[in-house]
């Protein structure tokens, strides 16, 4: 090898070593994890965020909704790099108590400016021990939907207003052969939505509460709203055969498919799912689904929130990462140029609900929502929404335990009162351990 050739080899080696370092422009890499929904929109939003903040690169990965909690626990425990993520009011207390996510209002007090614009249930659901843990991805309510065509053909002028009326209408629909099982709910043991739709039914009843303000389980009291709901559901599934047995294996998506197919007439769904039900590109039943206020004396429902949070790994990585993480939360869940740009995009393109009550007056949103829902009715139900009760670090554990217990009552394996007693016992046990 000649002298020059040797130098060329050395030079090329040096360049190959230096090149990657040059390619990595100084800046911050944020690791974002979400559940798999509207992934193409998420990616596009990320691209726009990166344009606005050129020094920040977002590494994005997603997991299915049904397995999201468990996947995130595995990531937290194994310390897999994760800086910003989706979370839910189900898990806020659990993840905060475990030290996996951090409050943001101390480092970024500007988040508080948004609070006054949120529905009361959203403010409550974003708070743990007085601290704010994120900005809203979306906020929504569980709504009662009915197939107006089925109801009309069964001889009824409007939707049911109570559980008794719901039974009566479902029996009539079944008797006329319109649907074998007029009711379908996403009550599969694997779906985190299941406890929310159950809670919505409880809230809709007279004195509908699961826990009092001190966190005591009132659902176990004889004659409670929960007992009424569980007894009603067990009868609907058992002797009356009006609740589809597939409900016990169904996720929210499965229940929607049954409604889309016209196999069922009534459902309990997050309100954004109504956009899918009334999408003519997806079902011949489109346009027939309407919102009825929740069947029960109070007509109340559960409001829930999914939000963007910052993990405890981010502050450990330094101030730049924390600033980038806040910018991410602010861009995705807050205002950009005076507008809730990303929130509004989700609403317009996917029908997702929002935390900011003022958006109900937004003309673009009203026009978009008006294609698949009665917006005034949607707003009316949203105004009757309450945050889930019993939000504690052990709520998630209680939820998983309760899903199986509720199944036992629905299947007639045990009395509703015994199911509720077992759920209360578990609650007390968890509460005692947490002290």
């Amino acid at each position: 090898m000649t002298h020059v050739a040797r130098w060329l080899v050395v030079l090329s080696l040096a360049v190959s070593l230096v090149e990657p370092a040059l390619a990595q422009a100084p800046g911050v890499t944020l690791n974002l994890v979400s559940w798999s929904y509207g992934v193409e929109i998420v990616r596009d939003n990320i691209a726009k965020f990166q344009q606005k903040y050129p020094g920040v690169t977002v590494n994005y990965s997603d997991f299915s909704w049904a397995t999201y909690h468990d996947a995130m626990v595995a990531r937290f425990v194994s310390k897999t790099p994760t800086d910003v993520l989706y979370s839910s009011d189900h898990w806020l207390q659990e993840w905060a108590a475990a030290g996996w996510i951090v409050p943001i209002d101390e480092a970024f007090p500007q988040v508080r400016q948004y609070l006054t614009e949120y529905s009361p249930f959203v403010r409550e659901a974003l708070t743990y021990k007085g601290r704010i843990y994120g900005t809203p991805y979306y906020a929504d309510t569980f709504i009662f939907v009915y197939n107006a065509d089925h109801v009309q053909r069964a001889g009824f002028a409007g939707p049911p207003t109570s559980l008794e009326e719901l039974t009566k209408q479902a029996e009539a629909i079944k008797a006329k052969g319109i649907a074998d099982f007029p009711l379908v709910f996403g009550w599969g043991q694997q779906d985190p939505f299941s406890i929310e739709s159950f809670t919505a039914l409880v809230f809709a009843q007279k004195n509908g509460s699961l826990f009092d303000k001190d966190g005591n389980a009132v659902f176990k009291n004889p004659g409670s709203a929960a007992e009424k709901v569980v007894t009603w559901a067990a009868e609907a599934l058992g002797p009356k055969k009006i609740l589809s047995p597939t409900s016990l294996q169904a996720t929210n998506n499965d229940a929607i498919k049954a409604l889309q197919a016209g196999a069922a007439s009534f459902g309990l769904i997050p309100s954004y799912s109504l956009a899918v039900l009334n999408d003519p590109g997806q079902t011949q039943q489109a346009g027939k689904f309407k919102i009825g206020l929740m069947p029960g004396e109070s007509r109340a429902t559960v409001g829930f929130i999914r939000f963007y949070a910052i993990t405890s790994q981010a502050p450990r990585r330094g101030k730049d990462v924390m600033t980038a993480a806040w910018n991410f939360l602010d861009y995705f869940g807050g205002k950009t140029d005076g507008e809730y740009r990303v929130t509004k995009r989700w609403s317009l393109e996917k029908g997702l609900g929002f935390a900011q009550t003022a958006l109900f007056a937004d003309k673009d949103i009203r026009a978009a929502f008006g294609k698949w829902a009665d917006v005034d009715m949607l707003q009316k139900q949203a105004q009757l929404a309450r945050a889930k009760e019993g939000m504690t670090p052990y709520y998630g554990t209680w939820d998983v335990f309760s899903r199986a217990e509720l199944h036992k009552a629905y299947l007639g394996q045990q009395k509703p009162a015994d199911t509720l007693a077992a759920m209360a016992k578990k609650w007390e046990e968890l509460k005692a351990k947490a002290k």
Binding site: D180, Q190, Q249, T397
Partner: protein
């Protein structure tokens, strides 16, 4: 240069290191976790609690219920896998079976498919709203309406067993086919000359020769059935009403959903001991076969 006395140690050192890192350390760490308070939502409470986690696991509602579910699943699954494997092996061992080479490949195919994928396939097949099984049964007039197979405790268990057999059966068939193929043909000729029919040939020649392999299949499949987790995860999520929440699922739930690492580790150790017991029985059976 390595001294001769150190040579054996040097050669097994890499393997020992791998075993130490991936087996011994996790095992010891599990033991450590199992005797300490370790609830993820209370990260600062890590007191030594002795056998309390074991007591809580064994005394809790889930343990006995999941043990019962595991026993029911294991009995159904092992019996079905063994019978399926034996039937397929006997069929493929027939000399005149048309396309037996292709059949062997086809039969083995499910074994090569990852459990999670096969679980998803079977969940779709059994779906109560759009499952292909319901479609077929309805088209052929066997059922009047779609059946929610996975919404009733018994049928949900049955669905899992069928999915398990589809996945595990091929391996049993391969084991048994290999054993069948080494049985001397003269023995069958001899019993035929003695006037024995097919049943007696099976009973007095095939079965004695298959005994050791059958024992291996039974024990191995019991271990696999007891340790099953992926099918539950994908197909049922433990439901309905915890009917399919077998012990492997319970350990997962304890750790990832109840966030109690201490109790999860205690449960994993109990499950490990249970499997160890089964392995010991298997080894004893094999030894007695060899001695015989």
């Amino acid at each position: 240069m390595t001294r001769p006395s150190l040579y054996p140690y040097a050669t097994i050192l890499p393997v020992m290191l791998v075993v130490a890192v991936f087996t011994v350390y996790p095992l010891l760490h599990s033991v450590y976790l199992s005797v300490h308070e370790n609830v993820l939502t209370r990260p600062l409470d890590n007191d030594f609690v002795g056998l309390q986690n074991f007591r809580e696991v064994v005394g809790g509602y889930y343990f006995w219920r999941s043990l019962w579910s595991t026993a029911v699943f294991a009995v159904m699954a092992v019996a079905a896998v063994t019978l399926y494997g034996l039937g397929v092996a006997l069929l493929l061992n027939q000399p005149g079976v048309l396309g037996s080479t292709l059949l062997k490949v086809v039969v083995l195919l499910p074994w090569a498919i990852p459990s999670v994928i096969s679980g998803i396939i079977w969940r779709w097949i059994f779906d109560g709203d759009y499952g292909v099984l319901n479609g077929l049964l309805l088209a052929t007039g066997v059922v009047e309406r779609y059946v929610p197979w996975m919404s009733q405790p018994f049928t949900a268990r049955l669905c899992m067993v069928i999915a398990h057999v589809w996945k595990q059966g091929p391996l049993a068939a391969v084991f048994l086919l290999a054993a069948l193929q080494i049985i001397p043909a003269e023995l069958y000729d001899a019993v035929r000359m003695d006037g024995a029919g097919r049943w007696n040939a099976f009973r007095f020649v095939t079965v004695p020769y298959l005994k050791a392999t059958l024992a291996l299949v039974l024990i191995y499949e019991t271990i696999v059935a007891v340790a099953t987790f992926d099918l539950v995860y994908v197909m049922t999520g433990g439901g309905p009403a915890d009917a399919t929440a077998i012990i492997g699922w319970y350990a997962y739930t304890e750790i990832f959903r109840f966030l109690n690492l201490g109790r999860g580790a205690a449960l994993a150790i109990i499950l490990g001991l249970l499997l160890l017991g089964l392995v010991m029985i298997y080894l004893r059976l094999l030894r007695s076969e060899e001695a015989a």
